[in-house]
């Protein structure tokens, strides 16, 4: 149940070194992929908006993000006079570190032998597994919240209060859809989630959680995750038109770059987590040669597809209003995922019970919508009757 064979038994120096190398490789890979991701995002959005996008630095503008990063490094580092200095400097790290720690959970391939030690291609596989994702996403709330508060200025404060309310609300829906994955895996470990999804139905449909759980947990999860990492269309946190720049208005130079980095790290990590939880992780066709390479390749391709889907969201969808956001979170996603957990649990016990529960749910939903529409009709009639006489008081 979720433990790397490498760490079983006595810890030798070689084992410690392997772990350190894995951490370093994962960190560098994540940083490089952030550079590429920013370039891909700008290029794809430019294409969708009929522009050219970055094309000056390097071939096809590939080095643009690197140039931007270096520029930010050498800019003046401003700390506002009314800010809380220590918290102001702490906040960017509280955004970046959870983003990286979440990435360590993701299995990016099968297992390999290094220096006579058998190890999994994954930085860490703790027994609590996916709970670490929930813990880290609740810690990253602090980064945004404290950044806004410590700036000592009103736009960042408004942005950060909004952001933390949004992140806390969507955490519930995210947790519930994760719970359904855990329910069907029987383990919290991400490695177990991936191994459980190997194989196929009838020889050609992949045995992925997307299909085993019905599509609903995945849809809930992708919406909740988009809100959780404050990507468009849920980026009210940094709504330029109303909040200047949101929680990072007062940040400049490398600290601003850290927030930017955290946002993209989060987006990539969440794409990877989605692949792990619902799309079989590194699962895919395996030709007979180069066994270690194919899983990594499949994983990267799937993750890249999800990243491009995020970019597509940004280009295609207008930003939600605050009340729409809260309604979607509390009144749609949480009830739907709760009901779906009931159905999945019933399916685990017995199929007839599960289908009966689905049927019952549909009936209940029908009755409820009918009742609501009748209520609306009556309210409408009452309003019409009230109209000729006098004005209506409120809409009760």
């Amino acid at each position: 149940m979720g433990s790397d064979l490498l760490l079983a038994g006595h810890l030798s120096l070689a084992v410690v070194l392997i772990v350190v190398v894995k951490v370093l490789v994962a960190f560098v890979a994540l940083l490089v992929s952030v550079l590429l991701a920013i370039w891909i995002e700008r290029k794809v959005i430019s294409d969708m908006q009929n522009r050219i996008g970055p094309n000056r630095a390097g071939p096809w503008g590939l080095l643009q993000s690197l140039a931007d990063g270096m520029k930010l490094f050498f800019k003046e580092d401003l700390v506002p006079e009314r800010s809380d200095r220590f918290v102001f400097k702490l906040a960017p790290y509280l955004s970046v570190i959870p983003a990286f720690i979440t990435f360590t959970l993701v299995p990016i391939g099968g297992s390999v032998d290094i220096f006579g030690h058998h190890t999994e291609l994954q930085v860490a596989d703790p027994p609590i597994g996916i709970l670490l994702l929930i813990a880290m996403s609740s810690i990253s709330v602090y980064g945004v919240m404290l950044a806004g508060w410590s700036s000592g200025s009103k736009y960042p404060l408004l942005g950060s209060v909004r952001a933390s309310a949004q992140m806390i609300s969507y955490e519930a829906a995210m947790g519930l859809s994760i719970a359904s994955v855990v329910l069907i895996t029987g383990s919290l470990s991400t490695r177990d989630m991936v191994t459980q999804q190997l194989g196929t139905f009838f020889g050609f449909i992949p045995h992925w959680n997307l299909i085993r759980l019905g599509i609903i947990p995945f849809v809930v999860f992708i919406i909740a995750i988009t809100a959780e990492v404050n990507r468009p269309p849920f980026d009210l946190v940094e709504a330029e038109q109303e909040l200047v720049g949101g929680f990072h208005t007062e940040y400049s130079s490398i600290r601003f770059a850290l927030f930017y980095l955290a946002e993209y790290m989060n987006t990539i990590t969440m794409s990877a987590i989605m692949v792990t939880m619902f799309f079989g992780g590194p699962d895919g066709p395996d030709p007979t040669f180069l066994h270690w390479l194919w899983p990594i390749l499949w994983f990267l391709v799937k993750t890249a597809i999800f990243f491009v889907i995020y970019v597509w969201f940004r280009a295609a969808l207008p930003r939600l209003r605050y009340d729409q956001l809260m309604d979607l979170g509390w009144k749609v996603l949480i009830p739907v995922s709760l009901a779906w957990i009931l159905v999945i649990a019933a399916m685990r016990v017995s199929r007839p019970l599960g289908f009966a529960l689905v049927l019952l749910g549909f009936l209940a939903a029908l009755v409820l919508t009918r009742a609501i529409s009748i209520g609306h009709e009556r309210a409408g009639q009452a309003r019409i009757q009230a109209l000729p006489g006098e004005e209506i008081n409120g809409d009760s």
Binding site: I128, L131, I134, A135, V141, Y142, L146, V161, I168
Partner: protein, 183 residues
């Protein structure tokens, strides 16, 4: 006897975690600003989570971070931010004779209790309510004991929490209604 049972890395982790808990606790009381106090509280909670992991109770550690650090302290911060951002709390503490004596008695009581607990079986993990928390299995062990042996206390606690939430909603609704009447 206890020192012989743990290895050096474990001892280092333990000492560091205890130091984090201690610094967080003292900072929580000593900080001038309420937000800083809340941050020190988070630090303490993290230290306790590390101690849980060292005991092999990984699930409790995760829950500690998710529920306390992730939800409850965030709500504290929310309330602090909404009530007044720039207000610095000035503690009105006067160190008169009675208070010092009372504080001394309190510290003494805690020390005696700590000694009592440390000499019993509870601290060494010999007696555990849910069975031994062997690494990797403890989610299952915990779930089995919560949903079989202790299912009634568990459900009753759940009901109590629901009642509290409903009560909070009722109270806040009534307050809003009264305000409208006043207007």
């Amino acid at each position: 006897m206890m020192l012989a049972a743990i290895s050096i890395p474990q001892l280092i982790v333990f000492v560091v975690a205890v130091a984090i808990v201690g610094v967080g606790g003292v900072g929580l009381l000593a900080a001038k600003h309420t937000v800083h106090s809340a941050l020190f509280l988070v630090m303490t909670l993290f230290g306790v989570a590390v101690l849980f992991i060292e005991e092999g109770a990984e699930f409790l550690a995760a829950v500690q971070v998710i529920v306390y650090a992730g939800a409850i302290v965030v709500l504290f911060l929310f309330v602090i931010m909404l009530l007044g951002v720039d207000r610095v709390e000035v503690p009105a503490f006067v160190a008169d004779r009675n208070r010092i004596v009372l504080a001394g008695v309190g510290v003494l009581a805690v020390l005696v209790e700590l000694f009592y607990v440390a000499s019993g079986a509870w601290s060494s993990g010999a007696v555990s309510q849910s069975g031994s928390l062997s690494a990797g299995q403890n989610v299952g062990v915990l779930a089995r004991s919560v949903f079989t042996t202790y299912v009634y206390p568990f459900e009753l606690t759940g009901a109590l929490l629901v009642i509290a939430v409903v009560g909070a909603v009722v109270l806040s609704k009534r307050l809003i209604g009264r305000r409208e009447v006043d207007r």
